[in-house]
Point group: C2
Chain length 224, copies 2
């Protein structure tokens, strides 16, 4: 079944990782895939642009269907393979509400983290301001505090007692944030959550290849 | 059925409008609701924070279930009321793939537009740079060009031949962009799309109240 699926991905990208976790959870191993390098600009290559006109990874194709947005791809896979692998969207109403809420809210955490990283690494020196940097860091801090609070109320998973789509979408951001300096002391519940999820088979099987040799820098999120 | 639903909303906010369109499409008229004022800071009020800890609108409750992310609320409503009102996620595989893709991709258009508006109206004068403003405008232009291209390929609706969740999520951004100066001459397909969707009953019934008396400023998106 998975042989008609094709994924172009980059190591360490939360959106790519999400799709790979969803594929594992739905027992869709055996899909075709190719790792591309962000550093070499391969996400802007013709091969990517043919699938994803945004020139971003992931670029995902199922047969002739192109689904590049990572959350869209995850929701599509769940819907198309409902009874295969692990169910990721529960049918019980209250659980479903919480899973949809956390799933669609998780990209906020990614965005606030990326705002800090972009400002640190990408915005030209002459356009940088301490006030903006401070605002970005405060927004990211507020964001991670929200998620820490969610785990206090409804853990152990990010949307309650079962693993769900919300974990598929949220976990990769957190797993990038810790090696970039997010403090497990300041966010103990998130630390525990990260600790037990990292050994889940779907996550272990898809752990970013380059982190194994070359872990990310320790600094940019240390003040959050 | 809709009597156990409660929506706090602000006029002209694309995320609020989305949820209101979805409620209409699913024949869930009769829900309780209250309009709040962004200008008066009412989105940070205790009433909102009890439902939405982000202090944002919409704040939506169905029974005891809180679903505040606008796309999450729309997906939840579709899933809970599949056979009621208009189906918003098609079951045919290729159509479903496209609808998920465009639905989850639409918040990009909102974000790029908001980046321009925030930079124009919110970032303090002393932190502003022409180069940043230019980058933001270029990114928003590229974004709206993508959507113009989608309509060229697969219209008349934003994800093909039928109205879908993708329209529910995308349309409010476009309907805000035009009165803020986006040129219908430069984006003719988007103009036609806007022209026929604005009379759809679900959209007409929920058209932002304050635009009727007090249309938005004409300027900030005119260069896109």
């Amino acid at each position: 079944m998975a042989k008609d699926m094709f994924l172009l991905w980059g190591s360490g990208s939360p959106p790519c990782w999400r799709v790979m976790i969803a594929l594992e959870e739905k027992n869709l191993q055996g899909y075709q895939h190719k790792e591309l390098s962000f550093d070499k600009g391969e996400h802007k290559s013709k091969q990517v642009l043919e699938i994803n006109p945004r020139g971003q990874l992931p670029a995902f194709r199922h047969g002739t269907n192109l689904i590049n947005d990572s959350v869209a791809a995850c929701l599509y896979l769940e819907n198309q393979f409902k009874s295969q692998g692990n169910p990721l969207i529960p049918s019980e109403q209250a659980e479903q509400a919480l899973v949809y809420q956390r799933t669609l809210e998780a990209p906020n955490a990614q965005q606030k983290m990326i705002d800090v990283l972009t400002y640190t690494f990408r915005v030209p020196e002459e356009e940088r301001h301490e006030a903006t940097e401070k605002r970005n860091k405060e927004a990211a801090t507020t964001e991670f505090q929200l998620w820490e609070g969610y785990l206090q109320k409804t853990g152990p998973y990010i949307a309650g007692k079962n693993f769900s789509m919300a974990d598929v979408v949220f976990f990769p951001t957190l797993a990038l944030a810790f090696p970039l300096g997010l403090s497990q002391k300041k966010y103990p519940k998130l630390g525990v959550y990260h600790g037990f999820l990292k050994d889940r088979p779907s996550i272990k099987a898809t752990w970013p290849t380059h982190w194994m040799q070359d872990p990310p820098l320790k600094d940019p999120l240390k003040d959050l």
